[in-house]
Symmetry: C2
Subunit: 326 residues, 2 copies
Amino acid sequence: MRRVTVLCGGVGAARFLAGLVQATDPAGITAIVNVADDTELHGLMISPDLDTVTYTLAGAIDPTRGWGLVDETWQAMEQLRHYGRHHDIDPSADVGNDAAGWFALGDRDLGTHLYRTSRRLAGATLSDVTTEIAGAWAVDVRLLPVTDDPIRTMLTTVDGRRLGFQEYFVREHHDVEIAGVAIEGSESARPAPGVLESIDEADVIVIAPSNPVVSIAPVLAVPGLRETVRRARERTVAISPIVGGRALKGPADRLLRELGHESSVTGVADWYRDLASTLVIDTIDAHDVPAIEQSGLRTIVVPTVMSEPGVARALAQRCIEAAVAP
Amino acid sequence: MRRVTVLCGGVGAARFLAGLVQATDPAGITAIVNVADDTELHGLMISPDLDTVTYTLAGAIDPTRGWGLVDETWQAMEQLRHYGRHHDIDPSADVGNDAAGWFALGDRDLGTHLYRTSRRLAGATLSDVTTEIAGAWAVDVRLLPVTDDPIRTMLTTVDGRRLGFQEYFVREHHDVEIAGVAIEGSESARPAPGVLESIDEADVIVIAPSNPVVSIAPVLAVPGLRETVRRARERTVAISPIVGGRALKGPADRLLRELGHESSVTGVADWYRDLASTLVIDTIDAHDVPAIEQSGLRTIVVPTVMSEPGVARALAQRCIEAAVAP
């Protein structure tokens, strides 16, 4: 059985994984998922990337929104927002702004957060709960949070405000200029059980087309991760989340620029050069192949916009081939 | 304006209050509500008696169940229970048993708990949040939790198990024999702002037909409450929750017996004699009037089974008259 380990953020990684399970035996796949955009709202422990991956692999993701569950209802949110409006809760307040209901939690989705929070408060690790939730959805890919310790992506705006990832991404619609990103807690975090082994033992490691700055960087910030991937560089393939200079979804392009990097496949090549031996880029960026190869990365040029499952499957197939027989 | 203060538990008190607002100006009514059956489940702060009173006065209570919101949906619970079943969560486990989903939280109702928890975590007191929630439902009765400090009814079974109130009431369907009841935290609890004043200044104090052991006793256990009601004994009317020897709802009859009291209106008279000058009993118990009056309580005999709003209104009217012109 081929062993494939994927470093994952949210939506982009989830779509890739949905293709990967079509291209190779799911029992050999391990997804190492970012948890630095986890958050606590209303006392509930919320793991957006883990849930996006789980729901997508379960075939239960809402196909229009790309996050949350299909056939979702919003009764709890409507009631919460009624209270928030009635009392003019300021969503930008430093504390308790979640009472305004700016972070949408569907009713079915709330069941996941109720379960996770209960189990965590009872002493289960995030790894334990992740396995339990994935099992209940009959997901056959092994899902591992990168760490069971709390790590948090904190962004500093150019005017000095500090924002948690969800505040930046959801509340502010990533419409603020960022001066810096830090992964709080990463120095003392330990890789979750099985994480390093799954990289060491993988035939192929894929860096999913997730945001390099706020999805993949937090995964690599957990001590041991970067070194372990670097040791596996020959078996590691990165997929560019930048296509034609832009991010398909979210603020990756803007963040790269604001932090002094180039929003292009060559910029992504710079970002991942020490970790991956191969970079997968979209056909629209084929003209950049010489520059990337000159910098010491092999390239694969293939459609990467996973607007339909067939694209994701073919993309996954090419990643496997590249690492197994480069 | 007539000032009426009511000591309240959940369903029985809520139905009485719904009649009381028909009988006197709601702006003069203060409800002092039990919070010792509050609980934290899934990280959420839940105040069942406050919510039952609020929803009832808002006309939004589910008329069939008598608790929770009308037109409720249960998507979050179904999802939670799916996880709980899949992983054989033991609802009787000491910790984390809420992951089994034994405490039903409707989707709309969850909006209330999300709001309360957010506001509490942001530093608001339970009094603050109670006022905010009642305001959003346009409830014009003043609702006061008896205390903003955490107090908890703990029951000890005859075989030595310790149960929180909701574990006893909901999870075990109050189908266990109880040896003792303690109100944890009551020694150091302080009355919430306005509580003692509302008793001192009331023209009428009503002890609602709630469970004397687990609804009214915790209210009276907060330091200052019992003494203040006792001082107002001449203006205080208690309504018996026992009708024909039985509790209309819940385990009041059984609990009274298990704790060595009589499950009868004379038993209730013993329980409240030092606090109230008048006991309201149902017509079915009229034969006990001489015994009660001999023990030093005036009696009012009137239908008390509030199966329809007119009964509650007439009951409330009689309580007011009894205290204002005894």
